[in-house]
Symmetry: C2
Subunit: 371 residues, 2 copies
Amino acid sequence: MSPWKAAVPGAPLASVDTPALVLDLDAFERNLQRMAAAVAGSGVRLRPHAKSHKCPEIARRQVALGAVGVCCQKVSEAAVFVEAGIADVLVTNQVVGAAKVRHLMELARRARLGVLVDHPLQVQALAEAAQAQQVRLDVYVEVNVGANRCGVAPGEAAAQLARQIAANPPLRFAGLQCYHGPAQHLRTREARADAIAGACAAVRDSVRAIEAGGLKVERVTGAGTGSFVHELASGVFDELQAGSYVFMDRDYGDNQLGAGDIAFEHALFLRATVMSRPTPERAVVDAGLKASSVDSGMPTVWQRPELRYLKAADEHGVIATAAAADLALGDAVLLVPGHCDPTVNLYDELICFRGDTVEAVWPIAARGALL
Amino acid sequence: MSPWKAAVPGAPLASVDTPALVLDLDAFERNLQRMAAAVAGSGVRLRPHAKSHKCPEIARRQVALGAVGVCCQKVSEAAVFVEAGIADVLVTNQVVGAAKVRHLMELARRARLGVLVDHPLQVQALAEAAQAQQVRLDVYVEVNVGANRCGVAPGEAAAQLARQIAANPPLRFAGLQCYHGPAQHLRTREARADAIAGACAAVRDSVRAIEAGGLKVERVTGAGTGSFVHELASGVFDELQAGSYVFMDRDYGDNQLGAGDIAFEHALFLRATVMSRPTPERAVVDAGLKASSVDSGMPTVWQRPELRYLKAADEHGVIATAAAADLALGDAVLLVPGHCDPTVNLYDELICFRGDTVEAVWPIAARGALL
């Protein structure tokens, strides 16, 4: 990492060295409040996904506003949040391999831990380890509700796996994981509603098959920032896993909202500096592929619609400008990243500002927690 | 980062936790030798780009085999290599901003440092800082030789900037930076040769304009892994900046080689594990966007042409399989990343293996050195 810091608390925002990941605390806090208000009184719990922020300080704020805990995507990521005092962590992923299972059991001694399965061999490995180490573990069956990634087919396949879990204490059949990833970025509210209606039908089939066998489905968990209003209103889901709402990104910003949707604000930006101004039509900033993940498209330039971030090289971002006067050498811009999760994972620190001043620097403690 | 390690030296390769960045030392050493042999006796120097590996251990091996030093892309990256004992570092980038210029001058006290300019204001800022701190700095004029990113136009614009540098001791006009990025991935040898022929014409125009004014162009530096055989043979370039040759990646592997090209081997891989096997046609591995940068396309599965890595989510990679027997839950695969540089930047350690055994674990010390 850099041998020096981009900023310290109390510094002017204008002095933050670049490229840097900066968080507008006012917008961020409004996003937290809006989500807390959306779920309040609904009977549906919020378990925000920490893979988006990887930042214990943010997780603590989410829990303080009512979240039951967090989701993580990796065991090593979960370890960071357990170490930070988060008492209830769901690893929304299959955990395969002896080392990973061992680490998971160690964490389950220190906090309430959940994990997903979609194959009998996973249940068997978890059962053997939990039995050997005498730790209790919440195990959820992941159901493919339309994402076509992981997950068993809805209905009887889910019921079989649920029975296997229940037959293997100290594993506990905790419920169903039903996340529809592709629904998150369908651009119209109608398309998202349709996708989640389909997911709900798959959930109902699965619940029916499981409960017909005498097991109870205590929890149906899923949803993301793009679709959660539909899971929230479904009567089928009782836990939401949205993560990106705290930050937003260009890709989520491109979703069209409709009546009943909740508008979150762009709170996360890359601060970048114009380091080259080779022609009137072209400016080059110091934030490229290592400062901004472009898997979901290029970043945009915040509140500068006349500027277009055209392409990214490792450490260069090329911006098209309509006129030479638009940007001068040394000017700073704020970029809205295309996809927040993998962009956050490029940085060791989140520089939090309010107005024109850096208020705090929060470690992104789970950055690079891949295992 | 992960609270535990993916591997320790002496461990079997088969035990390396995933996802992990692994280096085949035999292939890597052959790559180093091939490049050293290519430049030996040519009168052209090798200054490999360290932005590809960000690893002091690799830089030391490159210098031991004859490299004059390294290139870096960021001042903070240069700081890591100076700290590691590399005595000659060229920052192949414009450095804009008071904090960055100050750090650059501090480094120039400890090692031979070079930097690029493409604007008079950059020269002025460097001159003032070098004068104030009485440090000597090599300053190169970056010429746009076809990449249309940074760089002044060839010819008189380059000469003007060279004169400004020479007029401002302790800055030293050190030569021309003439890198043609887009040429690196033109797929045919002929297309790459044509692009570099065009670059050479631009270099000659610039040298002529500068030397007409009485200044000497001591060094023309540039080239990358895709094109360097052409710069090497040009009689115009006398320093090569190739970086990716140590590792190779899928995108470089897609280049078609011709007579006179040098074949480097894929030495860098992502080790990943099959964590879900939901259908006969689909396997899911534990390496997604946070394990492999997909800016230049998806990774491929090493020596498994029947498997196709279709798409990446944050922590999932979906692989299409022709038959259920192709991959079992828990199986490991090696992935060839689409683009090595931003992929390496996702990892804290490079796990080096020889045959079936982990031989060393090298810190990627400049990972995340963005400033």
